[in-house]
Every structure is written in C-alpha cells, then in structure tokens.
C-alpha cells in the first residue's frame, strides 16, 4: 500500500464544484482581457517625455557594484561531496577543490583541481551558471555535465550528459551537446560512447537512510561522500541545508570571508519559489519518431532526393504521394532543410489532399513550425490538424460546448 492509497483525496461536493466553476469562468473573461491602452493627452505626453529624460539620466549614472555573496570554498578528501545550490547540484570527485562565487545574480564555479559533475535546472531568464577551470569557461543554461581538470598538466575536459553547454576559451566558443566531450588539449569536440565509468548522479531515492551519493560508489568516482550545505549564497542559488553530513567526513565547505556555515537543518525558511521553466514537451515530441514513408534505395541523401523526385514525377497517385511525404521527411530529418520540407508538405496538401500520408504530413508540418517558434503559423498548423482529425482522434474541441471530461496525464489519481 502506498501513501497515495492511505491519503485519499476528499472530493468536493458537486454543488461546491459548480459554484467554483461559475466563479472561475466568470473570472476568466476579465483575466484574459487585454489591458486597455490609456488615453494619452498632450500634457501627458509632455510629462512622459520629461519623465523619460529623467529616467535616462538616472539610468546612465554609474551603476553601483552589486553586492556579491562571499565565495564558498569546497575541498573534498577521498570521499567526494555533494553541494546543492538551489536547483543546481554539484557532485565533486575525491580530491577536488573548487570555489563558488555569486555575483550579479549568476553563479561561478571555479574548479581548481579534480572533477565536478553538475546537474543544473534551466536558468529560465536568470543569469547563467558558469564553471571556470583555468582559462576555460563553461556556460550553462540547463544541463548535466562533467568538468575535469587534471592535477598535473591542467588539461580540462568537458563531457555533457544531456542538454548543451558553451565552452569559452581564448575568445572561441564551442557548443558541446549531449554525448560529446570537449578537451583543452586540442579544443575539439568529439562524440563519446556511453561509458560505464560515467559519473552517475546520486540517487538518494534508491537508498534509505544511506549517505547521499552512495549509489555512485560502484564507480569509485564522484560524490561518494557527504552532502555539503552551507547557507552562504542567496536567493534561488542559495545552498540548501542537509542535516548530518555523516561522520568521518573531511569534506569542507568554507565561506571565504569566514562567515559561519549553517548546518543541521537550521535554515527551514524556503529557499526556492518554483520557477517558470520550460518543460520538455517539445523535446519529447522531437524524440518521437516520424513515420518512415516509402522505402528508398540506399545512397547519399542527395541521391535519395533525386530518386524521390524522379518517383514523384513518374509515378501514379499513391506512389507519388508516398514519395512526396518521404521527400519532406528526408529534407527535414536528414538534411535539416525546414523550408524545403515545408514546401514539399504544401505541395502534398495541394496534390494529395486525401493521400494515405495526409495525417503524417500535417503532423510533420506542426512539428516543423512549432519546433521553430510558437508563432501564428504554428498555431494555424495545429488548428488545421485538429480540424482534419478531430473526430478521428476523439478530440472534443470542435464541439460548441465540450462535455465534462477529465484527462489525467501519465498517471491515475485515486478519488474516494
């Protein structure tokens, strides 16, 4: 029996729900209404001009230095350590030393030696998180990756588990994506095969009462030691507090200015207001395979394009339709030519409005347009898709008034 079974949700009475629905729907109109533009009278314009001038003068004054939190120094012994900075987690390998500096709202992890693995939530408009190792800088938007700095020759490597980072060095910027490694030896980015030595993130959920990072011990690599939590930084990137850092640890987290670290759960005040971060729906959609279309003889992409164009020109209806959809798919997936793929899809819609690949073609159009940006073209493609397949897909959005229905995504919610 799970806790969910033992804490059933007490449902609300129907009349209570109806009342609530009326209140919500009544409030929806004003909430959705666009704000009214105020009428600008001439004197208002003059006043606004004067205010703008004053603001410009104020804005152009020298900015005062933003208060920076004191640096935090972390040094690990043979056990490694885990540091939580708000929604970012840093796993340090044994014999690793780094500082955490927060200035201008960002976070800068300065690796002196060893290896750190970072798991960083999307920054969502906040200043970026940086990792510096010598003259190498890694700019993080939201990802998981490992930075290693060799103790002897100072060589730095950056290996990305998921997401993407930018490696900055001597004015050059190298994007490194999931499954790639960058090395300061030659400054190149190479693909890496998944390695059994890859540092897994700690999985505290898998341990009961064990030390944070125990699940990493099989690699003898990162974060086999205690969790470190020091309330030195502020706001969303402030480290959280872990009670009881485990006996026998010599991992240290010391504020550089001598401020006393806070330990033992003393800072119960919430550290994070959940942020508006992008979800992964688009990523999930991008991972979904597209229907393959018709088979084409092997060869280069250009050769297959030629084959498909010839088939389109010389074939009868069904085969030509399949060739056209396959061409659009190839242009998008393999050649990355989105505009050409959209042209092929437009042609498909014109020539084969009832073709067998019609739904796949319309979905491909949604995927291309919405994958670019959330524009009116994306929305129009989505509307067309629903209009074409709403009945087939059991969409009730075309109804004037949708029937009461609750869709629970990915899980079942037990109601008493």
């Amino acid at each position: 029996m799970t806790l969910a079974d033992k804490v059933p949700v007490e449902s609300l009475a129907p009349e209570r729900l109806e009342r609530l629905e009326r209140r919500v729907v009544a409030a929806a109109g004003p909430a959705l209404a666009r704000p009214q533009r105020p009428t600008l009278w001439p004197w208002g314009l003059a006043l606004a001009g004067a205010a703008a001038g004053a603001i410009a003068m104020y804005a152009m004054r020298p900015a005062p230095p933003s208060p920076a939190a004191p640096p935090l120094a972390v040094a690990t012994d043979a056990r490694g350590a885990t540091l939580t900075l708000g929604d970012a987690t840093i796993l340090a390998a044994p014999d690793t030393a780094y500082d955490v500096v927060r200035a201008d709202g960002g976070v800068d992890v300065r690796l002196a030696r060893g290896a750190v693995h970072l798991d960083v939530a999307p920054r969502a408009g906040r200043p970026p998180l940086w990792v510096h190792a010598g003259d190498v800088g890694v700019r993080v938007v939201g990802t998981a990756f490992t930075v290693t700095r060799a103790p002897d020759d100072g060589l730095v490597s950056v290996e990305v588990a998921h997401g993407v980072v930018e490696v900055h060095r001597a004015g050059a910027v190298s994007p490194v994506t999931a499954g790639q490694r960058w090395s300061s030896h030659d400054g190149t980015v190479v693909a890496v095969a998944p390695s059994s030595d890859a540092p897994p993130p700690p999985d505290p959920a898998a341990s009961s009462g064990g030390r944070i990072g125990d699940t990493s011990t099989r690699t003898g690599d990162l974060a086999t030691g205690p969790a470190i939590d020091v309330a030195v930084l502020a706001d969303r990137d402030r480290p959280t507090v872990t009670p009881g850092a485990g006996a026998g640890t010599t991992a240290r987290a010391t504020p550089r200015n001598g401020a006393r670290p806070t330990t033992g759960g003393a800072t119960a005040k919430p550290d994070v207001v959940p942020a508006e971060t992008p979800g992964d729906l688009l990523s999930e959609i991008r991972r979904e395979p597209l229907p393959a279309g018709t088979s084409v003889a092997t060869g280069t992409a250009a050769e297959r394009v030629s084959t498909l164009r010839a088939r389109l020109a010389n074939s009868v209806r069904d085969e030509a339709a399949a060739a056209l959809y396959t061409l659009a798919r190839l242009q998008f997936v393999e050649l990355g030519k989105q505009d050409e793929a959209l042209q092929s899809l437009d042609l498909y819609a014109t020539r084969f409005p009832t073709g067998a690949e019609r739904d796949d073609a319309m979905w491909l159009r949604v995927r291309i347009l919405c994958g670019r940006s959330f524009t009116h073209k994306c929305r129009a493609a989505a509307h067309s898709y629903v209009k074409a397949f709403g009945q087939d897909l059991d969409l009730d959005l075309l109804a004037e008034r949708a029937p009461p229905r609750v869709r629970l995504a990915n899980r079942v919610t037990r109601q008493p």
Binding site: M1, V9, T89, V272, P274, A275, L397, A402, V412
Partner: protein, 199 residues
C-alpha cells in the same frame, strides 16, 4: 500519437480561451480541475480553503495564458502555477497548529469505519503534522512524489528544479520523516505500511 494529440489539443484550447470563448474556459477548468485539486490536497492535507486555492490557481492560469509558449504541456504549466499557490499557502498556514488544519478532514473516515478509521485518520494527521516541520520545498517535492504518485522527473518539471535536486529533497524529507517516526509509533506504523510508494 498521444503526445501529438495532447500538443495540438493544448494549442487549440488555449487559442479558444484567448478568443474569449466561455466554453473553452470551462473546458480548460474541467480538464485540469481534478488533477490540480488532487495535487493541492496531497500537498496541504486538507480541503480547507480549497475553493479559494483552486480559484486562485485558475485565475492565475487565465491571467497568464498568453505567456504559455507550448514548450511545456498545458498540464505541466498549470501544475507549476498550482505548486506556487500551494507553496504560498504553506507559508500562510505555518503558524496554524496542524490539528486545526486537519480537524475537518473526513477523507479517511469515509473510507473505513470505526477504530480503524480513527487510527488511519490519526496516521494521516501525524503525517501532515510531520510534513509541516519540513521546508516547503521538501514538503512539496515529497508530497508530489510519494503521495501524489508523480515520477521524480515530473516533480522536477513542475517545481522548476533539477532532477538531482528533486531527488535530494525527497530523500531528505523521507529521512526527516523516518526520524520523526522513530519516536512516534502511530506515524511509524502508518509509514511502514506505505513503503510500497517509494520509487
């Protein structure tokens, strides 16, 4: 197919809401009401003020609907707003004694009868009293994962945290609750029966 259907459905539903269609606003509310209610209930442990909280969530949803960019599913986006509302509610309730919060909760009593009901009800009461001692972030993460049954990745998405940070929060909450349960036989028994919920 499920993902793409949900994706285009969300886009069209939001557009219709933005066009001012009352039926669309009602549809949006009905589609997401039960899930949001369940999440709020399992985070807070009570239906007290639930009408106001649900209204607050959905008014915020409609007020912010123009900013939805279809990067997250509409459900995830709404859940983020619900979590923020719950989070603020926890802050407001912290001064209240937990007994007062659960005094009107008949959920468990309606499930089973007699002494067992009272025992189960006491277990729930103590669980939420223990949860009230945690930080709001740990409480929210634990409630969404362990009680609401969401996968860690989904909890991370709706709280805007990394997966690792979410796991740490749940682990810390679990450890703190086990520490409290060690001195509380009723809570210990209640939680020991619920070990199957650990993922």
């Amino acid at each position: 197919m499920t993902t793409q259907v949900a994706y285009v459905e969300d886009i069209v539903l939001v557009d219709r809401c933005l066009e001012g269609q009352e039926a669309a606003a009602r549809d949006l509310f009905r589609r997401h009401r039960a899930r949001v209610h369940a999440s709020l209930y399992r985070i807070l442990g009570t239906n007290r003020d639930m009408d106001d909280l649900l209204q607050e969530v959905f008014v915020q949803v409609f007020a912010s609907l123009r900013s939805w960019r279809a990067e997250a599913s509409l459900a995830t986006w709404i859940d983020r707003i619900a979590v923020r509302v719950a989070w603020r509610s926890i802050g407001k309730r912290r001064a209240r004694p937990p007994e007062a919060e659960l005094a009107d909760d008949d959920a468990v009593a309606s499930e089973v009868g007699g002494a067992r009901a009272a025992h189960a009800r006491e277990g729930v009461r103590r669980l939420y009293a223990a949860l009230a001692t945690l930080s709001p972030t740990a409480r929210v993460a634990f409630a969404l994962h362990e009680i609401d049954g969401r996968p860690m990745a989904e909890v991370a998405a709706v709280t805007g945290s990394s997966l690792t940070a979410t796991k740490l929060r749940v682990w810390r909450a679990r450890r703190a609750l086990h520490a409290l349960a060690a001195a509380d036989p009723v809570l210990r028994e209640f939680m020991s029966d619920a070990s199957g919920g650990t993922r």
